[in-house]
Symmetry: C2
Subunit: 105 residues, 2 copies
Amino acid sequence: MADRQLYELHASICQTLANPKRLEVIDLLRDGEKSVTEIVEAMEISQANLSQHLTVMRQKGIVVPRREGVNVYYRLSNPKIIKACDLMRQVLLEHLQAGVELARG
Amino acid sequence: MADRQLYELHASICQTLANPKRLEVIDLLRDGEKSVTEIVEAMEISQANLSQHLTVMRQKGIVVPRREGVNVYYRLSNPKIIKACDLMRQVLLEHLQAGVELARG
DNA sequence: TCCTTATATTAGAATTATCGAACATTCTAA
DNA sequence: TTAGAATGTTCGATAATTCTAATATAAGGA
């Protein structure tokens, strides 16, 4: 596979992580699976909107669903996702300490 | 600082990485600084467009410029950025091997 | 100063992402 | 099989991103 395509796919993963709600979901799934209802109750988000975000993350292979009766439980597909997020979080915190201007937008 | 704000800043960093050209630039800077001209010549990109991407990355604290005469040399601000990118790349490759559908868009 | 090279900025069009609202689906229990 | 709870999908408005083209700025040399 060409490098260009790899960069595209890589960018696609980053794009999936580039949303505060989705990052919060990932953080919530850090220690194991949670049902949609559990996630909704832990966040300030509508069920429909969460479902949209979960769809995006599912399609990109970030999370994996498991249906159990009426509930659907989601988990992270790969523990390295948390590692990557934590690394970026470290970069962020180090920059904040260094006074780098990082305001969103 | 509130978690919500942290997630916003974190998303902002991911957003900055969520572009194939910018990822390619980061990869090019992996082993040390390069001038804008060097980067342009190593990629398929216009100078103006590269300058725009460098501006974004500069503002988000991903890269740091150093002017030397008429040239501006850019370097990564933090080696953890490469580590995070490499981790995500690993996740991507493992997913590809597992046959996960990751097509962009 | 004037010219040239290197880099940055702006404007505008096209594409893409986000969210609320409304609606659809799936499953279980009664 | 109908009701209700849990989850998913579609649509449309708004906002953000990306690129090209044109222009601007900065630095050095003749």
